[in-house]
């Protein structure tokens, strides 16, 4: 079946994506309310900071992604970067033959 003939997928509609996102936002809000209402047992003083886990999770991921993105600047090469060298090494070894 060609993509044009098939029925649209669940996430082809922006509305459904929004629904999933609202679920996530709702979940986050509920977790924050529980954070305020429930006195959690803590093993470490840092855990007593308000919204320690939500903040740590959010900021941790943002920092992770931004650092990783910055790493691309000096780590990223084209797909054939290693293949070229290995191919030319093979050519030298086998006189241009395959393998």
């Amino acid at each position: 079946m060609k993509p044009s003939e098939e029925k649209p997928g669940l996430f082809d509609s922006e509305k459904n994506i929004q629904r999933v996102l609202y679920l996530l936002y709702g979940g986050c809000a509920v977790l924050l309310v529980i954070e305020i209402l429930y006195r959690r047992h803590s093993y470490h003083p840092w855990e007593n900071l308000l919204a320690f886990y939500p903040l740590y999770g959010f900021l941790g991921c943002v920092v992770l992604v931004l650092i990783a993105k910055w790493m691309r600047r000096f780590l990223m090469r084209d797909e054939a970067y290693y293949d070229r060298l290995e191919q030319s090494a093979d050519d030298r070894k086998y006189g241009g033959g395959a393998k």
Binding site: G9, C28, Y43, A51
Partner: protein
């Protein structure tokens, strides 16, 4: 009562021989029956030892069953069964035989009671598993397999060197606590560290696993690294250095995983990250921590296997593995999508999934032993693993943009294997006591208290929120067709480039020397020619008088020299 005690590895080796000659359904039946029979045999054997009288009166302990090795033994039978079912459609004899021998070698290694037996199976693990990489039969796989084999053999040689040094200190070569005292302790530690993918020794894993066959990766992800975890748990429990090594292992791979395009390579980085948690647990060394490490090894084999299976299924049906080429597969592969999400939820340690009940033990152990910074690193890694394995893998393979690929679900045997793994992920997550009661140490621990559940759920929900926010703001790095440099750059690029440069310089030097030599040769021969030619010095006749005068002068010089 069970009459025959067959060492667990032997069953797999015999099956490999049978598979070599059998065909069709009979061959498939033997393969499926092997881990089931093996598990029954193991259950009947239980704790105890089997000795084998070797040469020079050395007694090889080819089976040593205790709570630690038995748990890994059962795990390997389970992983073997799932992986064999997953690979049942594969008719490649090379892969069938290699996978059985490989699983057998892993069992041989965890039940090895002495270091020599461990060494033998340690090397056999390398030799048998490399065929699962080469079986992809591409140029890349051939090279990656060669590099993999060389590094694995190095690990074995270090182990052997450690054993030789150890044998000078100790009369017994029993495989027990080794510790970092003495040269042997360090040699064996590094040997284990290579197989366990310690930082900077990890590149064989992220290099070779993604180049293996779709089914081969499932076997590979289960055995080699878990044998190393077992070996560390037996030889180096409570070694503080392991805590810091493990913490580094949990953190650095996640950065690479975020920008990696090959989704099986993302899983390979995530494998290193999960091994980090186990290594921290072994390093902390308390009963809770070791239990946590072993439990996490158990759950990891299943959920990481499930993720490798789901990606293998995608590779099998689409022939592609890059995040940049995939997307929108949920439309035609809904079952695989759901199974992959279960694996992703498990590795992310969502409550009610298997990763939660094992990882929380390690985190609790680290915090109760006052390793605050390590605990913070583990927490960061937990958020990170959700980000790259929990969200990125299913998102870029099955959702994201519609790639236009309309692939069918994979063969039914693949779906069955994935369903078993997914059921185990949820089963262990909901009923953790099933796993807890088989752990090496007795303990009183419950993962499901409000504090744990709330903290972990908050961490994960807000990590997901971060993903959504970054994506909506266009800050999330897109999937790009590329390779990222990692430690293997040293031996894949720098060292060969240096070698070819040195080789080139040597060749040029040889050329110059040869040219100069030839020129010297030609000049000399011209001189000779002219000296002997008709007008040449040596063709001239001289008078007798002058000869006599020259002789006299020569003799005078001789006499003067003699008398001086």
């Amino acid at each position: 009562m069970w009459q025959f005690s067959v060492p667990p590895f032997a069953i797999f080796y015999i099956a490999a021989l049978l598979v070599l000659v059998l065909r069709g359904r009979l061959c498939s039946s033997v393969m499926v029956a092997t881990p089931i029979l093996g598990a029954i045999n193991l259950w009947a054997m239980g704790e105890g030892t089997i000795l084998f009288q070797g040469a020079a009166n050395f007694e090889f302990v080819i089976y040593h069953g205790d709570r630690l090795s038995l748990l890994f033994g059962y795990l390997f039978h389970l992983a073997g069964l799932i992986a064999i079912l997953y690979a049942l459609h594969v008719k490649d004899r090379l892969q069938q035989v290699a996978s059985l021998l490989y699983a057998g070698s892993a069992l041989g290694a965890v039940f090895a009671g002495d270091l020599i037996t461990l060494f033998v199976f340690w090397e056999l693990l390398a030799l048998t598993s490399v065929f699962l990489i080469w079986a992809r039969r591409t140029n890349r796989a051939y090279h990656a397999g060669m590099r993999y084999l060389m590094i694995q053999i190095c690990s074995g040689l270090l182990l052997l060197a450690g054993i030789v040094v150890y044998s000078r200190y100790s009369d017994s070569l029993r495989f027990d606590q080794i510790g970092l005292e003495g040269l042997h302790g360090w040699l064996i530690f590094i040997a284990f560290g290579i197989k366990c993918a310690f930082p900077l020794l990890h590149n064989w894993l992220t290099d070779a696993y993604p180049e293996s066959t779709p089914t081969g990766a499932v076997f590979l992800s289960a055995f080699t690294t878990k044998v190393a975890v077992y070996a560390l748990a037996r030889g180096y429990p409570g070694t503080e250095l392991l805590i810091y090594i493990g913490a580094a292992m949990t953190c650095f791979p996640i950065f690479f995983a975020v920008i990696e395009n090959d989704l099986r390579r993302v899983l390979a980085y995530s494998l290193v990250n999960q091994l980090g948690f186990m290594v921290v647990g072994i390093g902390v060394g308390t009963a809770l921590a070791i239990n946590g490490a072993v439990a996490h090894a158990f759950t990891d084999v299943i959920f990481k296997g499930l993720l490798f299976m789901s990606m293998g299924a995608v590779l099998h049906v689409t022939g592609r593995m890059n995040g940049s080429d995939l997307g929108g597969l949920y439309k035609t592969m809904p079952k695989t999508t759901v199974l992959c999400i279960i694996g992703a939820a498990s590795i992310s340690a969502f409550p009610l999934f298997s990763g939660f009940v094992s990882k929380s033990m390690i985190m609790s152990a680290a915090i109760s032993e006052n390793y605050s910074w390590v605990w913070l690193m583990l927490l960061f890694a937990s958020a990170g693993v959700f980000h790259h394995a929990g969200i990125k893998i299913p998102y870029f393979a099955f959702f994201a943009h519609d790639s236009g690929i309309r692939a069918k679900e994979p063969p039914v045997n693949m779906l069955i294997a994935m369903t078993i793994a997914a059921a185990l992920c949820i089963g262990i997550g909901v009923f953790p006591d099933l796993l807890y009661r088989h752990l090496p140490f007795d303990m009183d621990y419950s993962a499901y208290d409000m504090t744990h559940v709330l903290a972990q759920t908050q961490l994960l929900f807000f990590s997901a929120l971060a993903f959504v926010w970054l994506n909506r703001r266009g800050l999330y790095p897109p999937e790009l067709r590329s390779v990222n440099l990692d430690g293997e750059w040293l031996y894949r690029r720098a060292a060969p480039a240096l070698w070819w440069r040195c080789y080139g310089s040597w060749q040029r030097l040889l050329e110059i020397l040869t040219k100069e030599f030839r020129r010297g040769q030609r000049t000399l021969s011209r001189r000779f020619d002219s000296a002997f030619s008709e007008q040449g010095v040596l063709s001239q006749s001289a008078s007798t008088g002058s000869i006599a005068a020259w002789m006299l002068a020569f003799l005078l010089v001789l006499i003067l020299l003699w008398s001086a």
